[in-house]
């Protein structure tokens, strides 16, 4: 060991700030929330009443079911739409134009999220662009009921997550060494078989990371369902916000939040294989 070996203190000095921040502003609030979820508003004794309320009230657990249905639908559609797009950007667009193509795909998301959601509401309205195009071209007899429905919520979500998944899958595709493809070709595989048996499995990590992010971000999002769903059904974040905003019932809100986190944790365990943060 030479004279400049760091003491035992240095490594801890480096990681402690981040750890401390996470402990104080993430773990501690979480513990506070968990404790609160075991109280009744104004009550002192610990009780499972809030959780019981959730499981016995159909309007409440229906919100979780709705959230899962919407989120899974969004994830699947976004992956199916994004993969070919990422492929086109990574394989078919000439390399010098690829960064431009990516930036163009991401650019629209630099408008405000809230305003963009309201724009979707207008686009999907009775006399909005989509319906005008459909009725004008004769594809539909009457304007479709698009805005203020689950369809609108799904469209709003897919809009964002197609972009996100395109990025993760694109990154994965670019990372693939061309030797895989060459090897497959050398062994006599045609383009379809190469894709199905070689490329697709190798890009699975990119898909799973993107899908997991989509799941987590979508299931916890308040704005899109609130603006585009027309309150025709409630998803979990809306239910939680209702407790905070309208009723000041933080214990119940906390219980709902913990239930939501439990669901996300299950999803994480399912995807854990592909989500390890490995060093280069």
């Amino acid at each position: 060991m030479n004279a400049t070996t760091p003491g035992r203190l240095l490594p801890w000095a480096l990681v402690t700030p981040a750890l401390l921040w996470t402990l104080v502003f993430f773990v501690l609030p979480f513990i506070a929330m968990a404790m609160l979820s075991l109280l009744e508003p104004g009550g002192e004794a610990a009780t499972l009443e809030n959780y019981r309320q959730f499981f016995y009230n159909p309007s409440y657990w229906r919100a979780l079911v709705n959230s899962l249905e919407v989120t899974l639908t969004v994830t699947v559609i976004s992956v199916l739409l994004a993969y070919p797009f990422a492929w086109i950007l990574a394989e078919i667009v000439p390399p010098r134009l690829q960064r431009l193509a990516l930036v163009l795909a991401v650019l629209p998301f630099w408008t405000s999220y809230v305003v963009r959601s309201y724009s979707w509401l207008l686009v999907l309205a009775q006399n909005g662009v989509v319906n005008e195009a459909l009725t004008g071209s004769g594809l539909a007899d009457a304007p479709l009921q698009l805005a203020n429905t689950r369809t609108a919520t799904v469209i709003g979500f897919v809009h964002f997550f197609v972009m996100l998944l395109t990025l993760t899958i694109f990154a994965n595709l670019k990372q693939l060494s061309p030797s895989y493809r060459r090897a497959a070709a050398d062994l006599g595989a045609g383009p379809v078989r190469t894709f199905w048996h070689v490329i697709l499995p190798l890009t699975l990590p990119g898909i799973m990371v993107g899908a997991f992010l989509t799941f987590v971000l979508a299931i916890g999002d308040y704005i899109t369902p609130q603006i585009l769903g027309g309150n025709n059904e409630l998803l979990m974040p809306q239910l939680i916000m209702m407790q905070i905003g309208r009723r000041g019932d933080f214990p119940l809100a906390s219980a709902l939040a913990i239930i939501l986190m439990a669901v996300v944790t299950i999803a994480y365990l399912f995807c854990a294989r592909w989500l390890k943060i490995e060093r280069a």
Partner: protein
């Protein structure tokens, strides 16, 4: 390499300077903190007061008494000076020890429309805690070129399959459930838990006809853009402000009656600016303030002060002269106790989730 380091240092220095500027910004003139419904955010309303007194009015908007009280609970004492609260809910704030009694002799109580003075709720234990500043109706708002106006004289048309998919419901449980009660012939002041199943039925039927359930903006937009033709819980607060651009928007008081909404101003007991708060309240209920409040950009409504300085055209839009007749047929919001309130909100949630 060094240039990268200095680049970092320069960035941090700039950030630190920005933080210093932010922190060192001298507290400007005196500030008034107000918890309000969105109609009090209009600069046309606030600026004359700010300029006349050399102060700044900070506002935080909320919708629904529950939300407002929740905001207060999340704050520290002294955070707020005045609050806009439904007249009928003033006792709730008094119960929580939030409000300061108002001086009867320094406010124009004699000029208020008698039906909206609401002594029953703004006076608690002989002391007055709130003064009504604005009122209107949660009733049936509609586009008179798209619906049969005769149908709008009865609430039965709201649950008529004829209007399926053409209705929006205003997302506030108290007035809409009050309307449901009226349609069943019950009085809003006498609601009990036993009435809930019947009210629930009416709500479910309305939801089946509804395209969306929305708050102030969503409801206004839906009616204005033609997404829906009828707004349950709508009234002049939706139609009057849009009257210039869309004169087809109107409202009716059906034969079953309508629900009367009335906003009051209250002062916080822990306020650090009680004199300024009183001045603000006096300004709002003065003829000039009343005229501006009545025609505020978020939603219009009737000024509580009958001497409000409105133009003839504005009075016509608000149907100023028909008010006595309307008031005779309107009932106040339901004022449930905590237990009934929770059950009512549960019914509302059930309605929102219903397919």
């Amino acid at each position: 390499m060094k240039s990268v380091l200095t680049k970092h240092l320069r960035a941090s220095a700039a950030a630190a300077a920005a933080l210093a500027i932010l922190a060192a910004q001298p507290a400007l003139a005196q500030e008034l903190n107000a918890l309000i419904w969105c109609d009090h955010a209009d600069p046309a309303l606030l600026q004359p007061f700010e300029e006349a007194n050399g102060v700044k009015v900070n506002v935080k908007e909320f919708e629904g008494t529950g939300a407002g009280l929740a905001l207060v609970e999340q704050s520290q004492p002294g955070d707020w000076d005045v609050m806009v609260i439904d007249s009928i809910d003033v006792p709730r704030g008094v119960e929580k020890g939030l409000f300061e009694p108002l001086p009867e002799d320094q406010l124009p109580f004699a000029d208020l429309f008698p039906e909206v003075k609401m002594d029953g709720s703004t006076v608690v234990d002989g002391k007055r805690y709130g003064i009504t500043e604005k009122f209107g109706y949660n009733t049936i708002g509609f586009n008179n070129t798209k619906v049969d106006v005769a149908d709008m004289q009865s609430m039965a048309s709201l649950i008529d399959p004829k209007y399926k998919g053409r209705i929006a419901i205003y997302d506030y449980y108290l007035p809409v459930m009050g309307m449901a009660a009226l349609s069943l012939g019950k009085k809003t002041a006498d609601l009990t838990e036993a009435d809930l199943p019947a009210i629930r039925d009416v709500l479910m039927k309305m939801k089946a006809n509804a395209k969306l359930v929305g708050e102030v903006t969503a409801s206004q937009t839906a009616l204005a853009t033609g997404e829906v033709d009828i707004l349950v819980g709508g009234g002049e607060w939706v139609t009057a402000g849009l009257a210039k651009e869309n004169p087809a928007l109107d409202f009716s008081i059906p034969k079953e009656g309508a629900v009367l909404w009335s906003q009051a101003l209250a002062m916080f007991k822990d306020s650090k600016n009680k004199d300024l708060a009183l001045k603000f309240i006096q300004y709002i209920v003065s003829p000039d303030g009343q005229a501006r409040l009545a025609t505020s950009s978020c939603y219009w409504g009737m000024p509580a002060n009958s001497k409000a300085a409105l133009t003839d055209e504005q009075k016509k839009t608000l149907r100023f002269d028909e008010q006595p007749e309307f008031l005779a047929r309107a009932q106040a919001y339901p004022a449930p106790d905590a237990d009934l309130d929770k059950k009512m909100q549960d019914v509302w949630t059930e309605m929102l989730q219903a397919q």
